[in-house]
Symmetry: C2
Subunit: 380 residues, 2 copies
């Protein structure tokens, strides 16, 4: 194996693939990165057996040559040192080669690294997905779907199914839903020209989606999503991101969502966020981050929190409108802040059905696309 | 106590004073911040009994009013929540007041915090230093003195005296020296118009100097340094930084420094730094960060490192000149990188006296002001 490559291209791919590699793996060879060279280019592969990532660097693209001097072959390299080595190489080009003893030489400028590699034959084959269940969306929409739901997955393993995001296609819409049973985040996008799909109970680990979101740049390029019984594949031109799916049935969440409301508030999203943030400052330890919201005269909300040992805080926030019944309700400041941060909307509508029932936050525009639901906290 | 203050001024002072406050203190009231208001302005005080910091915000300065509505008084406030509260207040001005029950009210915009304070009478008095041993230098020079020496103090408590920096005045020069017995960092500056001083064995805790360096902005303003038997005071117009001194005799370090050398290298500081950095990548764990330097023909150095399990790295670096005996030497990459990073000089001179003797790094200009010394490592 031998090739010369542009350092920046190599660096970018190495960083993407590293997201799948864990130093704590039961299968020793998975602590390494596989490097495979063909006449078309270089493919880097990393896997922790839950997530597998392949990144392809083409020999040439848009008339720019990234790789030359190719002698095909493959090797597995210790992943722990490789990113730092590439980052700190002195020259813009890097020469890599391996011999039949799996010795790898990396040269750049006057620097030369000799590393012990491993036989690529010993690296597990990634499954090649065969499925009819494929569809495409744009990368930036996928990133929105992830960002607006994944934070609400459960961090506890008591109900493993809730550590994932439920993906489904229904009525020409793609839905992402996550809940940790104290709150729920849901986002959908219209999805057209799609053949009848049989996707309803796909549960993607939250961790996989977080890593995928980090790797994907915010572009309008297309990404292909393919689903089998136990795996999901996200594929762009140069990236192949494979994740296992969670096994089990995702709970029916639609019945959690109240259909009617008794109090409706329209309010500036940022003003409410900052006010909740301040109220939560004193509540962080003693009261599990609980703040209180009370409707007042003149379209005013009172946000408050009381932490007997430290003190109390209260603040009046002007709403655009408050309709319906008077309300006193307590809830986790963190949950409301999380929800407000991911709703890309200057104004939000908050719909309450009484102090003991879940409440809903929607953006004021495209309100049926994003829904955030929070369960209140009893404080008496 | 009552006053209205500009939030930004308050924030800056709070952040400085927080550097002296520890939540883990044996004296409970020291987990608080003292706020003292007089007709002249507001003084904030924090202390962990090793370091004490006072920051003064004048009522008015250069025609700008920072504080108004003053009713003198004082209070101690829980320091844990105070910085976050100030940072997140909605308005540019802040009203603070306390009643005789030590209840503190902080108002800004529509937000109001009510906090439990403590009686300022219970806060320990900071000692007022009385000494003739005072001198002034500019803040940026003091920051250089600190930055170029403090990293070399010992982190081990086996010889507590080495956790401090030795400050002395001799022959119209102010010296800072630190050593952990594996390396030594020394910087001096000329200091004129100073009466005969009796400062020779002042040992300032490294931690104090690190905190002081963080607080001081890089200005050419003067800072006054006053020393007593067991304390040192750094004072600018609005800041009062008091530290205890370490007790004991600092070792005589001048005899560690070789007077002659057998091999002298002049080299670009950054090129050497990057090359050592690369060589240390593989050496981080197995070999305690040891790299090897060998002089070659044609003004060339070979920097290398070998870590049997991972691999090896070697690199040739061009020096400006290599004079004297051939040399093969091994040393800690970290120590040399630390030294090169603080020497503000494009070129450095490295003077060796054989593979088993300490070597010295000086800047090529003003070479008698900065000296970094490193002990080699035996590798046979």
């Amino acid at each position: 194996m031998k090739f010369n490559i542009q350092r920046n291209q190599l660096m970018e791919s190495v960083q993407d693939v590293m997201k799948a590699i864990s130093s704590k793996t039961a299968i020793p060879i998975l602590s390494g990165m596989k490097i495979e060279v063909t006449e078309e280019g270089v493919t880097l592969t990393g896997s922790d057996s839950d997530i597998s990532i392949e990144s392809f660097i083409p020999k040439e693209e848009d008339g720019i040559v990234y790789i030359d001097g190719i002698e095909p072959g493959s090797i597995v390299l210790q992943a722990k040192y490789f990113p730092d080595i590439v980052k700190k190489l002195p020259d813009q080009t890097v020469e890599m080669k391996s011999d039949d003893q799996f010795n790898v030489t990396i040269k750049s400028g006057h620097a030369e690294f000799n590393l012990n590699g491993q036989d690529a034959e010993e690296y597990p084959q990634l499954p090649k997905l065969k499925t009819e269940n494929s569809f495409e969306i744009s990368v930036d929409l996928l990133k929105d779907l992830i960002r607006q739901t994944v934070f609400a997955v459960s961090t506890s393993e008591t109900r493993p199914i809730l550590t994932g995001v439920n993906m489904s296609i229904k009525d020409d819409k793609l839905h992402f839903v996550a809940t940790d049973s104290h709150r729920l985040a849901s986002r959908n996008i219209p999805i057209k020209d799609i053949q009848e799909q049989h996707i309803s109970n796909v549960i993607i680990p939250g961790k996989s989606l977080n890593e995928l979101n980090k790797i994907l740049a915010d572009t309008q390029e297309k990404i292909e999503i393919s689903v089998t019984d136990n795996q999901i594949l996200f594929r762009t031109e140069h990236l192949y991101f494979l994740s296992r799916l969670l096994d089990g049935n995702y709970p029916e969440t639609s019945r959690l969502i109240p259909e009617q409301s008794k109090t409706n508030i329209v309010i500036d999203s940022k003003e409410l966020l900052h006010s909740i943030d301040r109220a939560s400052l004193l509540a962080k330890e003693s009261r599990n981050n609980v703040v209180r919201l009370v409707t007042k005269e003149n379209e005013t909300l009172e946000i408050s929190s009381n932490s007997p040992e430290v003190g109390k805080v209260q603040e009046e926030v002007k709403a655009d409108s408050i309709d319906g019944e008077e309300l006193k309700i307590s809830f986790s400041a963190k949950y409301l802040m999380d929800a407000l941060k991911v709703i890309n909307s200057e104004k939000v509508v908050i719909s309450f059905t009484g102090a003991m029932r879940p409440f809903i936050i929607n953006p004021i525009e495209n309100s049926d696309e994003i829904l955030q639901l929070i369960l209140p906290v009893r404080t008496y």
